[in-house]
C-alpha cells in the first residue's frame, strides 16, 4: 500500500468496525507525495503531509509494516517490495496502483486494484475476480546490448496498442526474455498496464531464485530449496494454449522514443515524427493530430532533432540500480548540455545507498545531474518535482499522458541510456552511434 490510494480503504474498515485480516501479509511505503530534494525534505503542502501522516497512523493502528520516510527505508513501492524479498513466485500480489504488474517479474500474479478492492482485501484477504484471458508475447531473436527492457516494452506497446492487452494476463516468453535480469523483467512487467493488461509475468527460473537468495524477507537458506522445487511447478506447460499469441522479432531493434500522448505513440529513435494523415481511421488521425499539437511537434521532424529541457531518470519503471548503472556508463566523464535540468531519482533509499557505494552519485553530480532522494517524483508530479507548461522532458517513466508530469508538460518515454545521452546532447540521440 501507499499513501494515495489507501486512506479511504482504512476509513471504510473503521466505519464498519473491521480489522485487517492479515497484517502479516501486508506492507506499505510512502512514495507519491514524498519530497526528493536531499537538502529540503520538509513536506510543505499540507494536504500531502496529511496523506503521509494518515498512512503512518493507519499502519500503526492496524499493525502494518511501513517502510517510512522517518526510517529512511522508503521508496517507490514497486522497487521497495521486491528488493526486500517480499515478492516471491506464485504469490498473488495486489496494490492500489496500476504498476503493481511490476511484480509479475517474479512469476507472481500481480495487478493493480482500486481503493474499494484494497478495503476488501484488507478485510478478507480475498478478492473476487473474473479469470483473465491469457496472452503470450514471445520475443524472438536477441537485441543488441545497448537495447534495454524499456525499449522492448515500448516496442511491444507500440505493436499491440494501448488496449491490446485489455482483459488479458500477459506472459512474456522467448530467449530475449529468458536472458533478462530480474530488474529488466520488472521493467517489462511494469508497463503491461500501458498495453491495457492488468498483469504481465515472466516464469520464475534460476535468475529469479538467485535474486531472492539472502534477501531480508525471502525464505531462509534451508527453506529455499523446498520452495524452489514448488516454484519450478509454476512454469507454463510446453506447448501451452493461450487465448492469444503475439510473436515479435527483436533482432536489431532500435532504441525507442515516444512522440505522443500515449505510450503506443512510439517510434525508433532514428525515425521521424509520424504524419497523422497516413493513419487509416479518422479517430486515430484526430487523436494523433491532437497529440502532435499538445507535444508541439510537426510530422516528419527527425526524433534526434527534438530538443528537451529536462531529463528525468527514475520511477518504478527505471529507478533500479541497473538502470542507474546504465545511465551512469553513458554519463561518466561527460557534462550535461547547457540549460538542461537533469535529475536522477533512485527508486528507493536502498537503491540510492547502493548506487553511492559504487560511486554512481559522483558520476551524475560531476556531469551536472541532480542526485535526489527516492520517490515517485516527476513521474506523476504529486510532490514538488514537475514540468512547467510547454517544458519538454526525456523521461524513463511510464506515462506520457497530457499533464502527467505537470500541467502542459511534454513527456517522451525512453530507456535510461537514451535519457542519459539526451541529457548530454540536449536532444535525442541514437545511443548505438555513441559506441
Amino acid at each position: 500500500m501507499h499513501e494515495v490510494t489507501s486512506p479511504q480503504a482504512f476509513d471504510g474498515l473503521r466505519v464498519a468496525g473491521r480489522q485487517v485480516r492479515r497484517p502479516d501479509l501486508t506492507a506499505a511505503t510512502m512514495d507519491h507525495n514524498v519530497p526528493t530534494d536531499p537538502d529540503d525534505m520538509e513536506i510543505r503542502d499540507p494536504v500531502s503531509r496529511k496523506q503521509i501522516e494518515t498512512l503512518r497512523e493507519n499502519c500503526k493502528e492496524f499493525g502494518i509494516k511501513l517502510f517510512a520516510l522517518e526510517n529512511n527505508d522508503h521508496g517507490v513501492i514497486h522497487v521497495v517490495m521486491p528488493e526486500h524479498g517480499i515478492i516471491q513466485p506464485g504469490m498473488t500480489v495486489v496494490c492500489g496502483d496500476s504498476h503493481t504488474a511490476t511484480h509479475g517479474a517474479f512469476g507472481a500474479l500481480a495487478f493493480g486494484i482500486g481503493t474499494s478492492e484494497i478495503e476488501h482485501v484488507l478485510a478478507t484477504q480475498t478478492l473476487p475476480q473474473n479469470k483473465p484471458k491469457t496472452m503470450e508475447i514471445r520475443l524472438t531473436g536477441q537485441p543488441d546490448d545497448s537495447i534495454a527492457a524499456k525499449d522492448l516494452i515500448l516496442y511491444i506497446i507500440r505493436e499491440i496498442g494501448t488496449s491490446g492487452g485489455t482483459g488479458y494476463a500477459i506472459e512474456y516468453t522467448g530467449e530475449a526474455v529468458q536472458n533478462t535480469s530480474m530488474e529488466e523483467r520488472m521493467t517489462l512487467c511494469n508497463m503491461a498496464i500501458e498495453a491495457g493488461a492488468r498483469s504481465g509475468l515472466v516464469a520464475p527460473d534460476q535468475t529469479t531464485y538467485d535474486y531472492l537468495r539472502g534477501l531480508p524477507y525471502s525464505p531462509s537458506e534451508e527453506e529455499l530449496d523446498k520452495k524452489i522445487a514448488e516454484w519450478e511447478e509454476l512454469k507454463t506447460d510446453s506447448p501451452a494454449a493461450y487465448d492469444r499469441k503475439v510473436e515479435l522479432p527483436v533482432d536489431g531493434l532500435a532504441p525507442q522514443v515516444s512522440w505522443g500522448t500515449n505510450p503506443a505513440m512510439t517510434v525508433d529513435v532514428n525515425d521521424t515524427v509520424p504524419d497523422p494523415s497516413n493513419l487509416k481511421r479518422q479517430e486515430e488521425r484526430q487523436e494523433a493530430q491532437r497529440a502532435l499539437e499538445y507535444m508541439g511537434l510537426k510530422p516528419g521532424e527527425p526524433i534526434t532533432g527534438i530538443e528537451v529541457d529536462t531529463v528525468f531518470i527514475g520511477s518504478c519503471t527505471n529507478g533500479r540500480l541497473e538502470d542507474l548503472r546504465q545511465a551512469a556508463e553513458v554519463v561518466e566523464g561527460k557534462t550535461v548540455a547547457n540549460n538542461i535540468r537533469a535529475m536522477v531519482v533512485p527508486g528507493s533509499q536502498l537503491v540510492k545507498k547502493r548506487a553511492e557505494k559504487e560511486g554512481l552519485d559522483e558520476i551524475f553530480l560531476e556531469a551536472g545531474f541532480q542526485w535526489r532522494n527516492s520517490g515517485c517524483s516527476m513521474c506523476l508530479a504529486m510532490n514538488p518535482d514537475r514540468l512547467e507548461a510547454g517544458e519538454r522532458c526525456a523521461s524513463t517513466s511510464n506515462r506520457n499522458f497530457e499533464g502527467r508530469m505537470g500541467t502542459g508538460g511534454r513527456t517522451h518515454l525512453v530507456s535510461p541510456r537514451t535519457a542519459a545521452a539526451t541529457a548530454l546532447a540536449g536532444h535525442f540521440v541514437d545511443i548505438r552511434k555513441l559506441q
Binding site: 476509513d11 497484517p23 502479516d24 496523506q51 478485510a123 484477504q125 473476487p128 479517430e283
Partner: protein, 202 residues
C-alpha cells in the same frame, strides 16, 4: 451502497479515445483522504483554464451538459492509473452511466464498486449515439439496468450486456465485503491448509 435504479438523463458527448484517469482527475487532487468532493475537479485540465475559469468550449461547461448524467466516449475509456478517484469524481459530478466501445479493466471494476454503470457497446452503436447527440440538443437516454436496455424518445432501443453478478450487486446495492465474509469458513479453511502462504512480514 445505494441501489441502481432506472433513470432518464442527458448524454454528454466526449469525443475522445484513450481518456486516461490522469485526465479524469489530475494528480493534484488525489491528496484528499475522503471519497467526496472530487466532482469539482473532474476533467480539470480540459474543463478549466490557467486562471481556473471554465473553458466555454468544453462539453461539460455547456448547457445542458453541465447537468448530464450519462457520459458518451470513445474506446479504452479510463486507461492508466488505478485511482478510484476517477469514478468518485464522475459520480460526484452527477454521472451514473458511461457508454464507450471499450473500457480499461481497473477502471471498469472500480465503477461497479461505486454504483456507476459502465456500458460497453459496439463501436458503430457508439458512433450512432454520437450522431444523435449531435442532431438533438440535450439528447436524453433512459438507462434500464434491470432489462439491460437504453431507450430514447425517438423509439431507439439498444440492448447491452453486463455480468449477471455485477448487475445483481448494483441493483440491490449490496456490500461486497459482507458477501465475502459470509464465506468465512472457506477463507479460514484455506488459511489453515498446506497451500496457504506463510506469514511474510513477521
Amino acid at each position: 451502497m445505494e441501489a441502481f435504479e432506472t433513470f432518464d438523463g442527458i448524454v454528454a458527448p466526449l469525443d475522445r479515445s484513450n481518456v486516461d484517469t490522469d485526465a479524469i482527475i489530475p494528480k493534484q487532487f488525489l491528496k484528499r483522504v475522503r471519497k467526496t468532493g472530487f466532482g469539482a475537479y473532474l476533467f480539470f485540465e480540459w474543463r478549466f483554464d490557467e486562471e481556473g475559469e471554465p473553458k466555454p468550449d468544453f462539453v461539460l461547461n455547456r448547457e445542458p451538459y453541465d447537468r448530464a448524467s450519462i457520459l458518451l466516449a470513445r474506446e479504452n475509456f479510463g486507461c492508466g492509473s488505478s485511482r478510484e478517484h476517477a469514478p468518485w469524481a464522475l459520480k460526484d459530478f452527477g454521472f451514473k452511466t458511461i457508454i464507450a466501445p471499450s473500457f480499461a479493466d481497473i477502471f471498469y471494476n472500480n465503477c461497479f464498486k461505486n454504483g456507476l454503470l459502465p456500458i460497453e457497446l459496439p463501436a458503430d452503436r457508439v458512433k450512432q449515439l454520437f450522431a444523435l447527440t449531435d442532431k438533438h440538443q440535450g439528447y436524453r437516454l433512459t438507462v434500464d439496468l434491470e432489462n439491460q436496455q437504453l431507450r430514447d424518445e425517438h423509439d431507439l432501443v439498444i440492448d447491452f450486456g453486463v455480468d449477471p453478478e455485477r448487475k445483481r450487486r448494483l441493483l440491490e446495492g449490496l456490500d461486497e465485503i459482507d458477501l465475502t465474509l459470509k464465506l468465512e469458513d472457506k477463507i479460514a479453511a484455506y488459511e489453515n491448509s498446506e497451500r496457504a502462504p506463510a506469514p511474510i512480514m513477521n
